[in-house]
Symmetry: C2
DNA sequence: GTCTATATGGCGATAGAC
DNA sequence: GTCTATCGCCATATAGAC
């Protein structure tokens, strides 16, 4: 009772090809940056020919934009599909912070992504804005509404506090990612 | 009663040439990034020939490193040749913060510098470390010792507090630099 | 649809005139 | 010391075979 016969066994692998190319593009762009990456190497890393890359993506900027958009959405879902964010405030906040820190410190790919987006934010401002709208803003908003809904914490300005928290963590990771580890900051002093 | 005659009126302009090249290199590298900058354009922007550039600097990475080192030292002196950092804590801290914020928000060149250093921190880690040692670490250390010497602020962990402060400000500037201004954060809630 | 081969131009770096 | 001219090489992008 099949509607269409199986005349095309593995026909619709176009999406796989796109995914395959984006995979290779990610590998190259995140390591060598935008200008430092050649379409030849993207094609080689993806296991296809250069002409195939150009048949699925208009040009180099187009491929780069498609990649960053995909990664931003990916990160967005990986962040907000995890925590219920409810319970005793002190414990929840502490768990949230340590989890975010460990994830950022462990995830080399995420740091490379951030590096590229920041480095290219002058030439691709719309991609930087996309990353803020998809990643940073929701994080701050979530934290803010959590802090607001817990009046017992006596926080006068939840939005400012949320921004301070996020900014401290991100900047901490960014400095630690660049220089040698140095000593680890004692985490018992944020709130 | 001059020791040496004026046989060489404007002879020693080698240093001027170096400065001239570094000026052109700054203009190009900060706008187009490392890989996006060609030595031809550096030479054109500096008003010399490409061969002259190569007579003063070994190669492209050498020129880039020399430029970043110069800019890092420059920024270092421009930061620590200003404030005495003494007086009533509340007022001093507030003035310091607003001043740092306004300076960062106004100085486009500084943000471009930070962008390039972060973007290239994977391929030039020693330059990123240099910028941390010359710029971020002294800032945190100065703040820390100031907070420590004012016991009346009752700050349990001065180093952590200093890092939080710096991280918040830098991250605030970085997000505002990328997206549209959005609303300004109310600054009455850091301490 | 996907490949190989190629057109066209810019790149880093240098040789040699002056 | 500084320039012009040039050498290889690699880049983006496309044409045409299959």
């Amino acid at each position: 009772m099949v509607h269409e016969r199986v005349t095309e066994i593995e026909h619709d692998n176009s999406l796989d090809k796109v995914e395959q190319i984006l995979q290779g593009a990610m590998h190259e762009f995140l390591v060598h940056g935008y200008a430092g990456t050649s379409m030849d190497r993207v094609a080689a890393s993806a296991g296809v020919s250069k002409a195939t890359v150009y048949s699925y993506f208009q040009d180099k900027p187009g491929l780069f934009k498609a990649l960053v958009e995909k990664l931003a959405q990916q990160r967005f879902y990986s962040i907000f599909g995890t925590e219920p964010l409810e319970g005793d405030p002190k414990i929840v906040l502490r768990r949230l912070i340590t989890k975010a820190l460990n994830q950022m410190l462990k995830d080399e790919e995420f740091r490379a992504f951030k590096r590229v987006v920041i480095g290219e934010s002058g030439r691709f401002p719309e991609l930087a804005q996309l990353c803020i709208v998809c990643l940073i803003k929701p994080t701050i908003e979530t934290l803010k509404s959590y802090l607001t809904s817990h009046a017992e914490l006596k926080i006068p300005d939840p939005e400012a506090t949320a921004r301070i928290l996020v900014g401290s963590l991100v900047h901490y990771v960014m400095t630690q990612e660049m220089m040698h580890g140095k000593e680890i900051i004692p985490m018992e002093s944020d709130r």
